[in-house]
Symmetry: C2
Subunit: 318 residues, 2 copies
């Protein structure tokens, strides 16, 4: 979520659109403690707090039906939402889905989509409690909404990063589309909850748009800057340097890694990095500062702005 | 909601698909007190109860973009969901939306959809707290999820109708598509809550699929039969008898009325009908029985099965 992840030829920039939405009237903070702009929104549900997030997968944008099949499309629709819940360290409660079915779809296709949703929902105790299916002349579109509960001290927001924090990521980055990992990733729900339970996380986001863009989201939401170290980025071993695009660029900008990026006090980060309590490796990639700029220290020791399109400068590429 | 309202050429019957879903594993009743099959699902949110519903509107199925425009499409997406909340006598809390934008859409179009959602959401204190927007090569698709709280004695289900209950509807039925009321209706959220607060409603549904079909849903869910009186149906005054299709058929089968159908004990219905406490008229159209059949008493005094396609027999049509 975040209203919204705009792909393809964008008629509107996400950040500008959220600003415009927020200009259309304030939310009642008692009813909506957290409005648009983070990975989930938060609502008051009586005395409880409710996290909600929604995301869609569209044929030709987020999957290719002819290549991936209906079940994988359903799986990805659920997994993307669970990754947004993970980004808030939430506990999934349940999901609903709408499906726009192309003409010629069969009962088997409907069942495959449902089983795809279930295949990853069941792993995180997130049942599909309802939905809507309609046939149309368009391509396959699946929209999922997931409800979750904040746990412990409450959700971990994008906006809590503080100067001096260590910036860490889980896993290895880059090449998700080329390798197909964007269809098969396991959302970091359990890892996020374990991290939040044992550490004072200041900020967290899931890496859907690419490290460079998502780190910028955290910095903008928190009103801070950051510097990352190019030599520290955990580049996925499946990536290789290409003449037009070094592996580090792919790791910074490919997106759809669905790993976690989080910030926390340096002393806590040191202990976390030494103990490595998760099944997936945690890597420190940089430090939050109060500069308002997001920069990368290159292999050549030169500091450069970190562009959303990644980082083309390390090997002298334009 | 209900998983799902299948339109067009259906690859799967709604009831069969829900049965299949329920065969795929039971829900944990402590976490999901109400699963697929009603207008909303209900989840446990800590000590509170949460109603959720989701519905989509698709260009060419639920609206025609070139005729209705983007704002009306957004409005309908929200209003359909609020009507599902009304059917449970719920109190809306908030909504999220996903939008699949056709190529060539502008920032103005995005804003129009948002303002359409807001135009009816604001009427019922249902803010849009988040969403996702993506561009694709397909037509416009808008999916909305609304969260609500059950009020008073809890949600009014489809499954509570009892033999002897009076069957009542709000408003006037039929011709919604032809007149454009399907794009402009005001969901009966306030009426439903007023009815539930002052009466012991046994069952309720919103009339989206057409009276004949929706009454069947209530009877199937409740394990009862019903008989309605053709002379009592509040036919919309905009409808006229046509040679191939009498007005009563339209009123029974057109759908998208988004009025309420509810059942309650006869003595309470009598008081309600005499006092008419709502701004919209309440009409008694029939009685629940224990026959397991849904029938209509025609103008000619003949009892006929009530078909989902309406009722073609009153004027001797096949």
């Amino acid at each position: 979520m975040a209203f919204g992840t705009l792909l393809g030829h964008l008629p509107v920039r996400e950040r500008d659109f959220i600003k415009w939405i927020c200009s259309q009237g304030a939310f009642d903070a008692a009813k909506v403690p957290l409005g648009p702009g983070d990975d989930c929104a938060m609502l008051a549900c009586g005395a409880e707090r409710l996290l909600v997030t929604t995301d869609q997968v569209l044929d030709g944008v987020h999957f290719v039906l002819a290549r991936h099949g209906a079940k994988s499309a359903g799986r990805k629709a659920m997994a993307r939402n669970l990754s947004d819940v993970a980004a808030m360290a939430g506990l999934p409660m349940g999901a609903v889905a709408t499906v726009a079915l192309p003409e010629g779809f069969s009962r088997d296709d409907c069942e495959a989509i449902y089983l795809g949703l279930r295949s990853v929902g069941d792993q995180f105790d997130c049942p599909v409690v309802g939905g809507d299916v309609a046939c149309w002349a368009g391509p396959l579109a699946i929209s999922v909404t997931v409800f979750a509960q904040p746990v412990g001290a409450g959700p971990v927001l994008r906006s809590g990063a503080q100067a001096g924090d260590a910036i860490c990521v889980t896993g290895q980055l880059g090449g998700a589309w080329a390798s197909g990992r964007d269809m098969t990733f396991i959302p970091r729900v359990n890892e996020a909850r374990a991290l939040a339970a044992h550490n004072c996380l200041h900020a967290m986001i899931d890496l859907s748009d690419g490290l460079a863009t998502d780190l910028r989201h955290v910095c903008e939401a928190s009103g801070v800057g950051a510097e990352i170290d190019a030599t520290a980025i955990p580049i996925h071993p499946g990536l290789t340097d290409k003449p037009q695009r070094p592996a580090i660029t792919a790791a910074l900008s490919d997106g759809e890694d669905y790993e976690l990026l989080f910030t926390l006090p340096t002393d806590q980060a040191d202990r976390l990095l030494a103990s490595q309590p998760l099944d997936v490796k945690i890597t420190k990639i940089g430090t939050v500062n109060d500069s308002k700029h997001v920069t990368v220290m290159g292999l050549d020791g030169q500091r450069q702005p970190l562009e959303s399109s990644g980082w083309e400068h390390a090997t002298g590429q334009p």
